[in-house]
């Protein structure tokens, strides 16, 4: 297994090029280029601000930072997991034609999405500084730790999903439905204290619950997440990374028959 990561490390030059090219081609041809990454969360802000303020009469100053603090890591998780399901098939021309550590493809995809997450956080701070300056908290300095834990977790999920979808090509459709429902049971659209009674018990089993808390606590409530939440998130991240890379490592030698 160590060999799996060593091999990727030895090909880090390819990983670097792969990530850079993906970023470049993602924004090529669009007038605003990289600015889209910043604009996208702003648009979501506007849309939700409108819905919740006009329709629902919510206190925006409290709600918007809270919503974004959960929505950004959630989006990173879902786009990476969804993208990972196609990362091996989508790179078939490499998988079939040249030796590359195959783990590079899901990994590269996660890193590209991670750049989006960072950009999203930049626009988060822009919005908060400009519109709700009183909502800026020193606890935001905890963010690098949150990001590291989430990144490890998502890399593990990506390895796992990439493997599953090689052998079961309809897995991504199933995942599309699961992730849609999942979004509504994680406290992102509703405050933790407003969690419906039926869901409250679910939070302790919900893998994404501690993950979003890592961001909501420092960004929206100005506190460092409690130790049990940090511990749980780290445990999930470690388990997923080990399980995901073990599964990928074990089954990648059979990819050639399926790709």
């Amino acid at each position: 297994m160590l060999q799996f990561f060593q091999d990727i490390l030895q090909h880090r030059e390819f990983l670097r090029e792969h990530v850079l090219q993906a970023l470049r081609s993602k924004y090529r041809g669009s007038v605003l280029g990289f600015a889209w990454t910043l604009l996208n969360p702003l648009m979501i802000c506007l849309a939700f601000a409108f819905i919740f303020a006009a329709v629902n009469n919510t206190n925006l100053e409290a709600f918007l930072p809270y919503f974004l603090a959960g929505y950004l890591p959630w989006t990173f998780f879902v786009t990476s997991a969804t993208g990972a399901t196609l990362s091996i098939l989508g790179n078939a021309s490499y998988v079939n034609r040249q030796y590359v550590p195959k783990g590079i493809f899901p990994l590269s995809l996660v890193l590209v999405n991670f750049v989006d997450l960072l950009a999203g956080l930049v626009s988060f701070f822009l919005v908060v500084t400009l519109v709700f300056p009183s909502r800026l908290h020193a606890a935001a300095l905890f963010l690098p730790i949150s990001l590291a834990i989430l990144l490890v977790f998502v890399v593990g999920v990506a390895f796992l999903f990439a493997t599953i979808n090689v052998f079961f090509r309809d897995f991504n459709f199933l995942w599309g439905s699961i992730s849609f429902v999942w979004f509504f049971v994680v406290p992102i659209l509703f405050m933790p204290q407003n969690t419906p009674a039926a869901l409250r018990g679910l939070n302790q089993f919900n893998v994404m619950y501690p993950m979003v808390r890592l961001f909501q606590d420092p960004l929206a409530f100005g506190v460092i997440p409690p130790l049990d939440i940090i511990g749980l998130a780290m445990a999930y991240a470690a388990i997923l990374l080990v399980a995901g890379s073990a599964v990928f490592f074990r089954w990648q030698r059979e990819f050639y028959m399926y790709v």
Binding site: F14, N91, Y94, M257
Partner: protein, 269 residues
């Protein structure tokens, strides 16, 4: 490629692929009693839906076949090896095993030296990216840093000779252009071992002549070349050794003239 510091894998472990790269060391490809299996899968066997239904309908059985079995082969420095055989005889699988794309389920593979594989219909390209961008990606696979690749780029561009297409996405290329670019990258990145699978059939006369000349030069520099082609004339002309594969088994390993003759005798029989 820096020499690898980790200890060698224990020999004899099934499917183990060992790659030892040290400058000055003799280049070699060693296949020890390898076996490669394929599964013949229906569309249903690739989906969860099909798998679940298969439990009830009995459609879950997979047919397997051995693309290569009990094959041992040693390719040494100075070898220019031609590979002949009918369609489906395992030639392309053999090249894929040598380039580590496929790990055999049986036997052992050992490769000393850096490899440039050029498989049928061009190289490993990202079709959305331009030729130039693909060069950087390929270069990084051959351990070239971005700046080193920038220096190498004019030579590749000149050899590929695809004009303005160098800067447009590869998806707009003709098959000939893809092969030109793949060959240009493969030879200019100076591999120790060059694996060529049916790429000459698509280039025009001019390019075929140019690439044959370039291959001769590489051969003189001590690069191991493995050439898969149905063009036995090319094998007689370029190679100093040839093998004939039939249904995954090694039928003959000899001088090119002898092997090509027995192969021709076999298929015209």
């Amino acid at each position: 490629m820096p020499p690898m510091s980790r200890p060698a894998l224990p020999g004899g472990e099934p499917g183990a692929v060992r790659r030892v790269v040290a400058s000055g060391e003799a280049r070699e490809i060693l296949l020890d009693n390898i076996g490669v299996k394929y599964r013949l899968l229906t569309e249903d066997q690739r989906t969860m839906k099909g798998r679940v239904l298969g439990i009830f309908t009995g459609g879950g059985m997979e047919a397997e076949f051995w693309a290569l079995r009990n094959l041992s082969l040693q390719v040494r420095q100075g070898d220019v090896l031609g590979v002949v055989g009918a369609n489906g005889s395992g030639k392309s699988t053999l090249v894929r095993v040598m380039s580590r794309i496929i790990e055999p389920v049986e036997g052992r593979v050992e490769v000393r030296g850096s490899i440039s594989p050029m498989l049928e219909l061009g190289g490993a390209f990202n079709f959305e990216l331009t030729g130039r961008e693909n060069c950087y990606l390929q270069g990084s696979l051959h351990s070239y840093k971005h700046d080193q690749m920038t220096e190498l780029l004019p030579e590749i561009q000149a050899f590929a000779d695809i004009g303005p297409f160098f800067d447009v996405p590869v998806k707009t290329y003709s098959t000939g252009m893809i092969s030109r670019l793949a060959f240009a990258i493969a030879v200019q990145t100076k591999p120790d071992i060059l694996l060529v699978d049916e790429v000459f059939s698509v280039g025009d006369e001019n390019f075929q002549r140019k690439s044959a000349m370039r291959m001769r030069k590489l051969i003189d520099e001590g690069v191991i070349v493995v050439l898969v082609t149905h063009n036995t004339g090319l094998i007689r002309q370029l190679c100093n050794r040839a093998i004939w594969l039939d249904r995954g088994a090694l039928m003959e390993d000899n001088k090119p003239n002898e092997v090509c003759e027995s192969y021709m005798r076999h298929i015209t029989r």
